[in-house]
Structures are given as structure tokens and as C-alpha cells.
Symmetry: C2
Subunit: 175 residues, 2 copies
């Protein structure tokens, strides 16, 4: 039921950001505050068995539901951002893309050793960014408690890359 | 009291993003979910006299409290993003920076004519980005109902530039 409502609110954009990609645009969801509320509730419910100390969310679309989840869970929100965006001392992790490289950063004081940290983003594709987030959490002595996504592109097998960090990988809808 | 708590959680970063700027880093606030909740409550309370149809929030830091405000107000959340980030048809507005130009975009179906739209960002500096958001709202026939910020750098007089759109300009702390 919720899955159906989400899919009806996702818009497919051909050739964005580059030719050959059908981008899943979740911004129509944001126009519907009742649906946003239901999604945030469900994202949190999927993780209710975990004892979480913080949630790490990826710039920028991961910020949308990530802040709502952090508030519902009453835990710190940790922004994971692209190179050069975080102002304080950072740790960084560089990973390969299809063409070129990308670097993600976390503030060096973002979490404490031993914290159970949930990774959240709006969408799981190949899993490169989520892996980078997991590495950044581990570099600070944190434990990757799981991964939470609104949408999963299961045909890209991103979850297989994440399993070495945590087998707790959840999404609300998959394609 | 709240103002004091916010100021204690804001970190000043010298020379970020460029030499001569003392950047106000609000990410330490995000580590404190109780304070985040209080801030979101107060941001909404400041606008309680308005009948709002939507809230437009600026990428990326404006997304943090913007989503919480949209949920409390039970209204649509409109992302305003940098050039090339929004996947669907967009309207764009280019404005002058100290050196060079910047372009902000809004989805062409983001709002309906006559809607009262609140503009939110984490910080008001010179007001260039907030003006761009106001212009994008007006281009779609929307009404700029007001401006909401967590932090205002009042010595930069950004609010003076915003007054032609709405005299309702609020922030929780100012420097």
C-alpha cells in the first residue's frame, strides 16, 4: 500500500543526469506532507530493532528524510558531504565511479568510538556512496548498524556491495 | 534562552569557504536532537500568523530544518537547488556574486499560482540566494509570504535586500 503510493509519486526522468539513465525523481513526494510523514514513520519502523546512536545521511537528497528520521529516533544527525563542503576538520574517502572518482567527507568529531550508526540516503544505486559513508563511519571507530533507503535500484545489485558492512539493508520500494 | 543555546552550538570556522570569512558552522546543533526539535518549533512559531501553502528551502543546509518545518506545518516542501541539480523542467534565476555569478533553480511545477510560500535557509548573509528564491517563487505566480533563517549576519544587511519581497523576515540568532 505505502509502496504503491510512493511509486505513484516517483517521476522517471529520461537521460538525467546523463544519457541512458532513467532518474527516479522523488521530489513529487515532498509535495505531499501526509505521504512524507508515512515514509519517515516506515523508515524508522524498519530499523526499530536496532539500538542506534546516530544517523549519517548523504548530501543532498539524503538530508530530506534523514532529518525526519533523526528527530523520530531522537539521535544525532551526521551529514556526509562532497569534498570541500564541510567546514571543520574532516576525514575523507575517495571511490571509483564509472568515469573518474568521487570523494565524500565526514567531520572528524562527528561520532564517538563504538557508536551504532545507521546510513541513510534517498536511493541505492550501485552503492558507491553508501560504501563511502560506511568507510567514513568505520574510520572513526563507529559501527555500521545498517543501511536505509527510500528507493533501491535492485537491478544494479548495490546491496551486495553493502553486505560486508551490515546485512541490515532496507528500502521501501525497489525497481 | 534558545538564542544562547544556539550560539553555544555554532562553531566559527576561520577562512571558510575562502580567506577572510568566519563561517558559522551549525552542524554541532545537529548532534543535539533536543535542540534541533526546539529550533524547528521556534522557526514555525515565528511564522504562526501566516497562512502558508508551501515552504521553499535552499540547497543544502536549508533542507535540514526546512523538512522539519514543512512537516510541522503540514505543507509541501519545495527544494531550490543549484543549476543542474533538479531533474525535471525548471525555471532558473541567475544573480551576481562578489566574484562571478550563481544560478538557482526550481521545478516548473513546484507551486500553484497564488500560493503563499515561505522561504527558508539556515543562514542569511548578503541575501543573494534568498532573493533568487523569491524571484523563482514570483516567476511561478506565487506570493513570498516571508523569510525564515536560523542565523542572520546582520552586519551584511541582507534583510534590507529582502524587504521588497516581504517585510516578514525572521531569524533565531543574529551576529
Amino acid at each position: 500500500m505505502l509502496e504503491q503510493k510512493i511509486k505513484e509519486s516517483i517521476r522517471e526522468i529520461k537521460d538525467f543526469p546523463k544519457t541512458g539513465i532513467f532518474f527516479k525523481d522523488i521530489t513529487p513526494i515532498l509535495k505531499n506532507p501526509v505521504l512524507v510523514n508515512e515514509i519517515a514513520d516506515e523508515l524508522v519502523k524498519q530499523m526499530s530493532a536496532l539500538k542506534l546512536d546516530a544517523i549519517a545521511c548523504m548530501e543532498s537528497r539524503g538530508f530530506w528524510f534523514g532529518m525526519l528520521m533523526a528527530q523520530r529516533l531522537n539521535i544525532p544527525f551526521i551529514p556526509i558531504r562532497k569534498l570541500g563542503k564541510l567546514p571543520y576538520d574532516t576525514l575523507s574517502y575517495t571511490y571509483e565511479l564509472e568515469y573518474g572518482k568521487a570523494t565524500m567527507e565526514i567531520h572528524s568529531d562527528a561520532l564517538k568510538k563504538g557508536w551504532n550508526v545507521l546510513v541513510h540516503d534517498d536511493l541505492l544505486a550501485t552503492g558507491g556512496t553508501a560504501c563511502a559513508a560506511a568507510e567514513l563511519i568505520k574510520m572513526q571507530g563507529g559501527v555500521v548498524a545498517g543501511f536505509s533507503f527510500v528507493v533501491e535500484l535492485s537491478f544494479l545489485s548495490g546491496s551486495e556491495r553493502l553486505e560486508k558492512y551490515s546485512s541490515n539493508i532496507q528500502s521501501l520500494v525497489s525497481y
